[in-house]
Structure formats: C-alpha cells, structure tokens
Symmetry: C2
DNA sequence: CAAAAAACGTTATGTTATAACATTAAGACT
DNA sequence: AGTCTTAATGTTATAACATAACGTTTTTTG
C-alpha cells in the first residue's frame, strides 16, 4: 500500500485526493501551475499513467477525466457512479452477483467479457434530494 | 424512419453503414476526402451530431468513436459489445431484466441511474474461436 | 563506483471537438 | 413568384485531450 512515490507523482496524487470530482489532466495542470510553472502536459500524463498502473488513480473513460482511488483492490471489477449534477464520482466494487450477471449477459450474446466494469451516470443521493 | 437526409448527412452515414467497426470522426473525414477535399472537421461533427440525435448513429463513449445504428429504438437502454481484437461493435437492447438489475444495483448505492446503458469490452464470437 | 534502468525536462505534434460568424439553401406564407 | 424565416453549410480559428521522441538527470543495483 505505501511504496513511496516520486515528488511529481505525489503532487499529482495530492491534487486528485483533494477533489471529490474527477478532473481532466489539464485541470490538474492548471492547479500545479499555481505553485510552479515548470509543469508540462507530458509530465502530468506520465504521473497519471504511473498512478493508474498502481491503482492510485482511475481514469473515467466516459469523461476523459481522472479520480483518485478510494478502494483497496487489484484494479478490476470497479463500478463508478458519476453524478451529472454535482460531478462527484464514487467508486465501488462490483460484487460477485453483479460480476456474474454482467458476464452472463455478455455470454448470452456470444461475447466473452474482458472484465466486469461499469460507469453509471445519474444523480447522487445529495443531488436527488436537492 | 425514413425522413430524408441532406447530402452531407447521407455521406457520413453511408461511410458508417459500410463499417462494422466504430470510426473516429477524423477517420470518417479521411474517407470523405478521397472523393472531395471540401470536407472539414466541423462539417463532419455537425453531421454526426444530427445523426446521433436522430438515432441513426451512436457514439461509443469509451472510444470516442462512432458507429451506425442497427436497432430500432428510441435511443435509450443500449448495450454495445466492443471486440478488443477485431474492433467490431455489436449493438443490442437491454432487456427488462437487465435494466432492472442495473437500476437496482445503482439504487443499492443510493444512486438514481439516468438510464441503463452499457459498453462492454471483450472478445466477440469469431475472435474467441480464432 | 560503474553500468543499467527509471524518471524527468523539453519540444513538438497528433488527435478529438467546438466556437464564431458569414453565406447559402429550404420551407412557409401571403 | 417574392419575401421572410429558419435550417444547414462553409470557413477559419482554436480549445481540449494525449503522446512521440530524444536528451539529461536521478536512482538502483551489482
């Protein structure tokens, strides 16, 4: 859990840790520029890719944004709930029943699912109740 | 079903109709340039957005690509199976059971699903059996 | 300490998508 | 048909997302 990160990677992760919403790489870059103008897109993307490989961070495919990981896991079988109103993203693990269901649903269509994964868009608890 | 399309829209749709795999807007643009150099990105995107609104075409969110629609429907409750090997995309409707399952899965996490929708990545029948 | 590997800095460029505004084409109503 | 209106298009520019390539520095390790 606590291998140590280089300062670049730590800086990028710190920004994502402080954000409940997913951020684009360039939003992260803007944030970093407040402290230091040295940052360049490639540097941010390199840090992000490392953090993603290590499951410190996830990429939300449907939004091309990044969010810090809040779960202990091996990187698969995730379920992201993305609120369309406030932008908050919550991360959950797909349970066995859900994994089975998704796998079987694909199987019925003669398709071998790579690995169960879900991104769901809608309204979070707070936004639903105004 | 058969309102008539302008020539730009017809041209873009014809290209997608001829492709079993999803195409990026710029791949479509390259195709169109073989016949006429007049095409510009904005023209292609305008046609695509119109075709998407009319459910002639879908956008595959996880790939930022476009595919022609093969189902009759109102635009919701789709399930796309995207083959990682050959790139083919097949489109299906989520049945009531699947819609219920996905909605309940979100509901258990205190989240109100916008509308059931799935993009699944894996291996299609052909690629699985080499 | 020397060699190798990993990370970083930097520049450039590739890819995806839309804003803004002028012009043309199409439909609708006397 | 003529004019008014709206829809579609052409065109230019630029925003937003992402990586290639290559040289340098730092870290690891034998």
């Amino acid at each position: 859990m606590s291998e140590k990160l280089t300062s670049n990677r730590k800086a990028v992760l710190a920004i994502l840790n402080a954000s409940p919403t997913a951020m684009s790489a360039y939003e992260i870059l803007d944030c970093l520029h407040r402290h230091d103008s040295k940052w360049k897109p490639a540097t941010v993307y390199r840090a992000l890719n490392y953090l993603i490989d290590g499951h410190y961070v996830h990429r939300i495919e449907s939004e091309q944004k990044f969010i810090s990981c809040t779960q202990t896991h091996d990187g698969s079988d995730r379920h992201f709930l993305i609120c369309q109103q406030c932008g908050n993203v919550s991360e959950h693990l797909l349970d066995e029943r859900a994994k089975y269901f998704l796998t079987a649903l694909a199987e019925d269509l003669d398709f071998q699912l790579r690995s169960p994964y879900l991104e769901s868009h809608g309204l979070c608890h707070n936004c639903r109740n105004n």
